[in-house]
């Protein structure tokens, strides 16, 4: 199952796109309660938001972004059937992409 969820809603003036990504966003400074060992840093570094193949936003982030990151954007003009996509890549080179069709 994809780690990404995308929801969109069209309004008169804009289209709201919300995304929720399942990711631990570990800082690397937290300890495992059971073993007392440091949990290695594991966080998303870049996120790309596209609309019909065009990059609308490139995001660079650190581990200051919350666990299971949430982002929302407003596209000025989008039609039903348009494709939006979210992709992310983390510091351990894992990545995921999801495409969503605006209803």
């Amino acid at each position: 199952m994809s780690t990404i969820k995308i929801r969109s809603k069209r309004f008169a003036a804009y289209t709201l796109v919300r995304t929720l990504i399942a990711h631990p966003m570990e800082t690397g400074h937290n300890k495992n309660d059971a073993t007392g060992e440091l949990i290695p840093a594991h966080f998303i570094q870049t996120l790309t938001f596209k609309h019909n193949g065009k990059v609308l936003s490139q995001c660079q982030m650190g581990y200051g972004v919350s666990k299971n990151p949430f982002f929302s954007f407003k596209i000025k003009s989008a039609k039903a059937g348009d494709k939006v996509s979210i992709s992310w890549q983390d510091n351990l080179a894992y990545s995921d992409t999801l495409e969503h069709i605006i209803p």
Partner: protein, 152 residues
């Protein structure tokens, strides 16, 4: 036009160089800049991100932030602005070990609007910086944190 093989080769070389250049510029956009996200103080971070830039205070940026965050590990923020031609949004938290939370490029097809959730170590100011036409605008708001979020 006289077309010799030499000319053809030269053209192809020029074109491939151009394509390479394009490719690289795309990569650099997506590149994660480690220095921006290193452990540093807030003032170091500002110097690193905006060298020799004046961050003008602006009341045209509106922030939706809680006054008190019960749990510092999830602080919701909504940013919107009436400043035209904004191309980058930066979110910083003054007392976090890594002050820069995230930076977003904003295409003209997007409204100057952003929603996100981030972590706060302790009570401090949250600073949002917008870049528009090579000018920098900032606004800040204090958030009281009851339970620090960087350990969670």
């Amino acid at each position: 036009m006289l077309t010799t093989r030499r000319r053809f080769v030269k053209k192809m070389l020029a074109l491939s160089g151009y394509a390479l250049g394009l490719g690289f510029s795309k990569i650099s956009l997506a590149n994660w800049i480690a220095d921006n996200f290193s452990r540093q103080t807030f003032s170091q971070s500002i110097t690193q991100l905006f060298p020799n830039q004046e961050l003008q205070k602006s009341d045209r940026i509106s922030l939706k932030l809680p006054r008190t965050a019960e749990n510092g590990s999830v602080v919701p923020i909504t940013i919107s602005s009436t400043i035209p031609d904004v191309d980058t949004i930066y979110i910083l938290s003054e007392k976090n070990p890594v002050p820069l939370i995230a930076q977003f490029s904003i295409d003209p097809d997007l409204e100057t609007y952003l929603g996100a959730r981030f972590k706060m170590q302790e009570t401090c100011d949250v600073i949002v910086v917008l870049k528009a036409k090579d000018q920098y605008y900032q606004t800040r708001q204090k958030v009281k944190v009851t339970l620090g979020g960087c350990g969670g």
